[in-house]
Symmetry: C2
Subunit: 129 residues, 2 copies
DNA sequence: TATCAATATGACGTTAACGTAACATTTAGG
DNA sequence: CCTAAATGTTACGTTAACGTCATATTGATA
């Protein structure tokens, strides 16, 4: 497994900037790239995958703090986790919040649809008056 | 229609602070409360309704800028609107974005569900080993 | 080995959406 | 009429999630 890449390749493939990678490292969202002494950092495919997953979760409206709660669940094997019940609780809470958001969004979608139809009907009337 | 209320009543009923109301006024999200000369501002039920709708939309992840694009559609009669096609375009775009978000959220929800079940199964195994 | 692009490392800047403190005015109530 | 509570007005502070220099090293290549 020779997937050593430098930050340039990593950021290009992930669609982020080096600043973002270093920021994520600083807040513990991604593991710090390995290095020898004080040289450059080298990253792996897994870090790339994490960056992409983080991007997905961000688009759902999750903050980086919230993402940190769940991101590991995608990448580490269960046998390494200690506070098992706590993890499950977090997961279930996120599930409930997701359901909330989905419901709210569907309501919003319905409102939009209604407004669109309202405007379209109003067009019909004024165009053919 | 004697629905004159001062900022205290308004904010209490809307669940926001005076600061928020004044901020929204300053960026044109809600109309400035009427007043006589340099006295206090008086608000109406419609402003209250707007505040509540803004809150709803915020929970969907819309920024105040995006909300400003659509908020009027809930409160003004269609006959007052000029750039009709433009409004429809905005609405349709928001509809598409809502569909996107809903899809992403459902995927996320499924992921969560899968992870939860994975953990639960793992519990079964380790508890009854 | 010399060099130049790619990285590393601070540190200050930025935007959104308000919070909060300070001080001046207004208004309802006794 | 007078006072205390509510409101108005500045203006500086705050958090998240990075952007943007400036400067110092590092490392691939001619």
């Amino acid at each position: 497994m020779n997937d050593r890449m430098r930050i340039g390749d990593l950021t290009e493939r992930a669609g982020v900037t080096p600043r973002t990678v270093r920021y994520y490292e600083s807040i513990g969202l991604i593991p710090p790239g390995e290095r020898e002494g004080h040289g450059q950092h080298y990253y792996t495919e897994e870090t790339l995958a994490r960056l992409r997953k983080i991007d997905q979760l961000k688009k759902l409206g999750l903050s980086l703090d919230e993402i940190r709660d769940v991101i590991d669940l995608y990448f580490i094997d269960p046998s390494g986790i200690q506070p098992k019940q706590k993890v499950l609780a977090i997961l279930r809470q996120h599930l409930a919040e997701a359901d909330q958001k989905i419901g709210a969004l569907q309501q919003f979608r319905a409102d939009l649809q209604a407004n669109i139809e309202r405007f379209e009907r109003w067009f019909e009337e004024t165009e053919h008056r």
